[in-house]
Subunit: 462 residues, 2 copies
C-alpha cells in the first residue's frame, strides 16, 4: 500500500467512525465527486443508525432494531459505492504517511489504509462513573445501537421489576419513559439540585409533575457512590452518599453525559478547543492538512454567545457531515455554528429549548433576564386545548432574544423552531412582536403562545 | 353634547365597529391611558368574538355560541371600563365636528358621540352574488357570529340533507367539513379552474384527495347563474352556467370572499388605497386627524413584495388593533406589515401558506421559481409518521425565500411559522439551510421537512 500511482488509483476518503456525521460526509462526498473511493471504518457492528431512536426501541414502540438503521454496510456498497467496514477500530492516524490504521475486531488483525482525505467522526463516549462496582453486569451505558439492543434484550428476557437511572438530562427522561412503558419501576438519581440543567425552574417543575404522575421517582442532590452485586456479579444495590440510603435494583442505566472521543485525533496532532472537542474551521477542516472532522467529537461555535461550545446532537452531526462531505468532494460549503436547539418527549409532555439559559447568558456577559408565561396552545374553546409554558431569555441592554425553553402537551416542538429561527437572525423582542404567525382555532389561539411570551418579556423591559 | 369643557370631561375614544381590531384597540388604549373614556359602537348583536371559530360552532365541535365570545358588553364595562353598544350602526363620521353618528337599531333613534380619538374598524362585507334569487331564504353568508348562529339553527332544526357552497377558498373548505360532520351532503362550486388560489397544484391535488375521501363533491370552472325557490321562498335549486346543469339543494353558503367596509370612512374623507382598503401609516393613522383604522377594512403592506396588499385575517386585525390602541393611548407602536401567513384544517389535513405564490411573485417582478417536495413529518420508523408536502417559492437572482405552502396530516401549522419568520428576516435559501431546528423522533426526522424543502429548492439553483 506504500506506493501510489496517481494515474491508476482514484482519490480515497477514509472515514474514521461510521455514524451520523461520518456516513453523511461519505454520502455527500460521493455525490459531489463520484470518482472518489470511500472506505468507512466503524468499531461497532452498525453504521448509520438513529441513536435518538434507541429509547423507542427499548420501549418497544419500534419493534426491530433494524428499523433504526438507515442503511446497512451492504446497502452502502450497493447503492452508494461506499465500503463500510464494521467492527474495525481505528487505532492510529498517521498524517505524514497519510495512513489510517485499524484493528479488525473479528480477526484481531491490524490493517492500514492510505488516504487522500480523511474525516474523523468518532463521536463521543459515555462519561464513566469511577466508583466501586461500575463494571458489574446489568449496568448499561446508552450510546450505540448495540447498547440499545443489550438493554432491550435484558428487559425482554429478564423482565426486571426495578431500574435505576443515574443522571437527570433528557436521555434520562426518555429512558425513564421507555422503562415505565415496559412496566419497570424507575428511580432517577441526579447529583445536582435539579434535573434538566439549562431549563427554567417552572419548566423543571412541570416535568417533575409529569414524572410524578407516571410514577417515576426522582432524587436530586444525590450522588451514587458505588454498586454492589448479588452472587452472579449482577448489580443489585446502588449505594448513595447518604450512608443509610441504598437502593435495590435489577439494573442501572448510566445517563451522565458524554465526552468527545478525541484520543486518536489528538495523537495524530489534531488540535482540540477549550471545550475538549476537536477544533475545526467553517469548512470542518482540522489543523492537520487533508483531515476534516464532524459530529459529536467536534467543538462548535454557539451563534448566540459567539463562543465555542460543546452540544452533541444528531442534527448537528448530520449537518456538519454534509458540509464536510461537500468540501471533501470538491464543492464549497460552510457550517457556521448552532443556536443549540433540542426537543424531547417525556410521557405526555414535549420539552424543548434553544439558545442560552439565563445562567449561560450571564456567564457570557449578557445583561440577561428571563420571563415565563403560560398560554393556551390552541383556541381556548377548542376541545383538548392545553397550556404551554414558555420561558424567554433576553438581553436587557440590546433587547435581543437570547434563548427560549418550552414545555406542554402539544405544539412545542415546532414553536421552538420559531425561536431558533429568530436567534439565527439576532431578532430583538420588539422585532418578534411583529411576527406574522399562523392562526386557526385547531392549531393556535389568535395570539400564538410565542407572541404571548415575547410580548410579556418585552413588557418587563418598558 | 356639543360643548365640551376639557377640565371636566375626560378624553374620549369612539370605536366604530366593535370586533377583533376595534375591541383590541379599545382595551389596549385603556390600559395605556386609564383616564380614557371609550365608547364602542357595533351593528351586530355581539362584540369581540372569534369569527374564525364559526365553522367549529356549526360543526357542533363547539357547543355554545357563547364559547366563541371573548367578552360580552357587560364584561367590557365591568372589567375594562369600556362601554360597548351593540345593535348600533354608525351612519356618519364628522371630522370637523369630531362626531360619530349612529342609529340604535332597537329604537331606530339616531345618536351622536363626540370623539377626541376615533378608530374605524368596520371590517369587511361578504361579496354579494348579483344574480337572480340571491335574496332567497336559506342562502347564508358567513361573516358575523349572527350568521353562524343562523346556519347552526337551520341545521339543528331543519336537518338538511344537501348543501351547496359557492366559492373554493379556505372558508369554503372549513364549512364543507363542518357540514359533513353534521351529516350534510356537500357540493363546492368554484368559478375558476382551481380551488385554493395561491396554492401549488401539488397541494391543491392533496386537498382534492382529502375532499374526495370525505365525500365532498367539487366542481371547478363552474359559475352559479341563479337560484330558484320552492313554494316557501326557500332556495331549492342552484342554476349553473352550463344550461343543462342545475343542483338540487336545501341551502347555500356563500364563501366568495370579502370586500373592505369603507363607505362610512370614505364619506368622512378617509382615503383608501389601490386594493380598496383604508390607507394607514405605520401607527395605523388615516389621513384624517385623530382617526385611526385597523382590521379587515385596512390595506396592509406586504413585507415580501414591499407592495400594498389586502389580506383580511384575524391575527392581523388583533395586532393592528393593539398597535392603534397603544398609539391612541399615548404610547408608541408601529405595524409594518404582514408576510401573509394563514393555516386551515380540512378534515384530516392541515394546510398553510406564507408569503407569495409563484404567480404573485412573478406579478411583483421577482424572477420566481418554485419547487415541491414530500418529506416525512417524523422519523420514518415512528408509529404514525406521515408525509408533508412543501412548496417553496424563491427568487432565482437573489436566492431569497419568497413564500411557502404546506399540507399534511400533522406538523404543518407551526412549520409554516418557521418560513414566516424567515420571510420577516429576508433569509435566502442558503441562510435557511443553516437553521438549527429541533429534532427528536416523535416530532421530526433528523432533516426536518423545512430543511428538506429548502435544500431541494437550493439544489435547483446550483
Amino acid at each position: 500500500m506504500a506506493s501510489r500511482n496517481p494515474r491508476t488509483r482514484p482519490e480515497r476518503l477514509v472515514v474514521v467512525g461510521g455514524n451520523a456525521a461520518g456516513m453523511s460526509a461519505a454520502s455527500k462526498a460521493r455525490r459531489v465527486n463520484p470518482a472518489l473511493e470511500v472506505v468507512a471504518l466503524e468499531m461497532s457492528p452498525h453504521v448509520s443508525y438513529s441513536a435518538c431512536g434507541i429509547p423507542y426501541f427499548v420501549a418497544d414502540l419500534v419493534r426491530e432494531s433494524s428499523e433504526l438503521v438507515a442503511l446497512t454496510p451492504e446497502q452502502f456498497q450497493r447503492h452508494r459505492g461506499i465500503t463500510a467496514l464494521v467492527r474495525h477500530q481505528v487505532v492510529a492516524i498517521k498524517p505524514v504517511q497519510r495512513q489510517v490504521v485499524a484493528v479488525d475486531l473479528e480477526s484481531n488483525q491490524e490493517r492500514c489504509w492510505h488516504y487522500d482525505k480523511c474525516i474523523v467522526s468518532l463521536g463521543a463516549s459515555p462519561n464513566q462513573l469511577e466508583i466501586p462496582g461500575a463494571d458489574l453486569k446489568n449496568i448499561f451505558a446508552i450510546r450505540t445501537l448495540q447498547d440499545g439492543i443489550r438493554i432491550r434484550d435484558f428487559i425482554d428476557t429478564r423482565r426486571p421489576k426495578r431500574g435505576a437511572i443515574v443522571g437527570g438530562g433528557y436521555i434520562a427522561m426518555e429512558m425513564a419513559e421507555a422503562c415505565r412503558l415496559r412496566g419497570v419501576e424507575i428511580v432517577v438519581l441526579e447529583k445536582t439540585p435539579s434535573i434538566l440543567q439549562g431549563f427554567s425552574s417552572e419548566i423543571v417543575e412541570q416535568v417533575r409533575g409529569e414524572l410524578d404522575s407516571n410514577e417515576v421517582s426522582v432524587s436530586t442532590s444525590t450522588t451514587v457512590t458505588g454498586f454492589q452485586a448479588n452472587g452472579a456479579s449482577e448489580v443489585s444495590t446502588v449505594k448513595l452518599d447518604t450512608p443509610e440510603r441504598e437502593i435495590q435494583t435489577d439494573f442501572v442505566l448510566i445517563c451522565t453525559g458524554v465526552t468527545p472521543t478525541v484520543d486518536v485525533a489528538v495523537a495524530a496532532g489534531i488540535r482540540t478547543g477549550t471545550t475538549g472537542g476537536i477544533l475545526v474551521d467553517w469548512k470542518q477542516k482540522t489543523n492537520v492538512p487533508n483531515i476534516y472532522s464532524a459530529g459529536d467529537c467536534v467543538e462548535v461555535r454557539n451563534l448566540v454567545s459567539g463562543k465555542p461550545d460543546y452540544i452533541p446532537l444528531g442534527t448537528t452531526a448530520n449537518r456538519q457531515g454534509r458540509v464536510a462531505g461537500e468540501n471533501i468532494g470538491g464543492g464549497t460549503s460552510v457550517f457556521r455554528g448552532v443556536v443549540g436547539t433540542s426537543v424531547f418527549k417525556v410521557f405526555g409532555l414535549e420539552v424543548a429549548k434553544t439558545g442560552l439559559s439565563k445562567a449561560q447568558a450571564e456567564k457570557h456577559g449578557f445583561d440577561a433576564a428571563c420571563n415565563t408565561v403560560r398560554a393556551h396552545d390552541r383556541a381556548s374553546y377548542w376541545p383538548g386545548a392545553s397550556e404551554i409554558t414558555i420561558t424567554v431569555v433576553y438581553d436587557k441592554r440590546s433587547r435581543r432574544l437570547l434563548g427560549a425553553q418550552l414545555a406542554g402537551k402539544a405544539g412545542v416542538s415546532k414553536r421552538v423552531d420559531v425561536f431558533a429561527t429568530a436567534l439565527h437572525n439576532k431578532m430583538t423582542l420588539d422585532d418578534m412582536t411583529a411576527l406574522d404567525l399562523s392562526y386557526a382555532p385547531p392549531f393556535s389561539p389568535v395570539w400564538d403562545p410565542v407572541l404571548v411570551a415575547v410580548h410579556a418579556a418585552r413588557g418587563k423591559l418598558q
